[in-house]
Symmetry: C2
Subunit: 299 residues, 2 copies
Amino acid sequence: MLINKLVILGLGLIGGSLAAALREAGQVNQVVAWGRRESTLARGLELGLIDSFSLDLDEVLADADVVVVATPTLLAEELVNRVLDRVGPDTVVTDVASVKGNIYRAVQAQRATVPGNLVLGHPIAGSEKSGVDAAKADLFDRHRVILTPSEETDAKAELLIRKMWQATGAEVVSMSIPDHDRVLAATSHLPHVLAFALVDALSGLDSSQDIFRFAAGGFRDFTRIASSDPTMWSEISLANKEALLETIDAFDAHLAKLRSSIETGDLESIAATFTHAKSARDHFSRLMDERQSQLPDKD
Amino acid sequence: MLINKLVILGLGLIGGSLAAALREAGQVNQVVAWGRRESTLARGLELGLIDSFSLDLDEVLADADVVVVATPTLLAEELVNRVLDRVGPDTVVTDVASVKGNIYRAVQAQRATVPGNLVLGHPIAGSEKSGVDAAKADLFDRHRVILTPSEETDAKAELLIRKMWQATGAEVVSMSIPDHDRVLAATSHLPHVLAFALVDALSGLDSSQDIFRFAAGGFRDFTRIASSDPTMWSEISLANKEALLETIDAFDAHLAKLRSSIETGDLESIAATFTHAKSARDHFSRLMDERQSQLPDKD
């Protein structure tokens, strides 16, 4: 048994799925949840995800071995500090937020040194569904979890969080906070912004009824992420503002170049860009296929 | 039997799949293909898609009942005219290109009146795969085909092409050429340009190796269309230049507004845009589900 008492702060898709996965793996003795809405916590109990809950933060934190901050991004900034104020150095504190720099800076701003029992992390798993009812034990199976230990992080604390995620079937990797935030801006935050911007733009056109009537499967795939939780994604956009603005600008420069080639009728230049992009996308797709086939089964 | 002699000009994914579907439905007696590469045509014969082929346009067109121009967009512009020069008014000529305005204008430019036996059309089906080897009889099943008859089009010719597509399992609708080109620019051509531009931009970043290593399923869906045929899509971008530039600019204005809200930290404005987009995307998704469930089975 890896963890005696696991505390989940914020019982949504990620927190609920983590609880379910660790229980299924037999790696946790007791799961206690805290949140702002009693109905959500009661639902988690009903679904068998947790053993008990409370709306009182001090109460749930008592004797915690691992505390997972699994709330939306902006609340997580504040909550990580509140938790660190309340737990001893033997309680390991981690989070699951999509941006790491803002949380680290919030911790730095509140204390002389960043505590060693803090291990920031980010499971690269999700769904356009959210909420405790979408939680499932295999959400992280064969997915990546990125840990972003800082120079202050205890090796032992990091190892515990690594083992915790491995028990869910995930592959755990480590990288620096700036690298994480840049990579996620490019692969996740920018695509979400583009998908939201596209659907917003199209729905404002006169012909939007026809547009949505005649769109096909490619459009459905392309815009799937625009069905994601708008509140969560607006918080992420601000939390990772700096890296996101950089990637928006890099994208915009490439789009402007393409637009100009289309306007001047430069077939060769358009074809060169599309060919280069297809080759990169096909390479990425092969990487993903290989990764899926190489990851071990959880059992 | 709907068609005695069907002639396919350009035996790729679309032409090959149409031949396969009509043969399977028992609605064609003889399928003859023309193309620029003998190896492709020989492959089509080997796959059982066609009965015979020739590299000589005059030879294949003799006694044709229906001629389907299924070549890439820019060649189709020229080929439709060459076919109309060679066939009588009882042979119905149609095409499958993704843009209709450029073909119509090319026909107009070459003759006093647009012939009534020309029925321009566009099956909204495809794949990131292309070529005759990807052809399959059910490609159009439960997909839409848009016909864009002009005021010159014979009703009888249009009806034959409508029945031809219905025999493949498709749902056939009609709209004007400008409406078609605007709707397709928004739902298909712009998303392709954005996906190509994004992958091109990301592959140029220093951290592109990490970017592609850590990208997840959402990114894979979002960039799937960047694996499409680059030559085909650069031709489409130019063929539909006017409508495409308009939608790029509409998109760009929305992206610029979002970028500015992110820069100034305006959470409320970002959330409002994302919420509006999610609601439009969810509405579209329900429409697609309903459409799929309402379409009759082919059999």
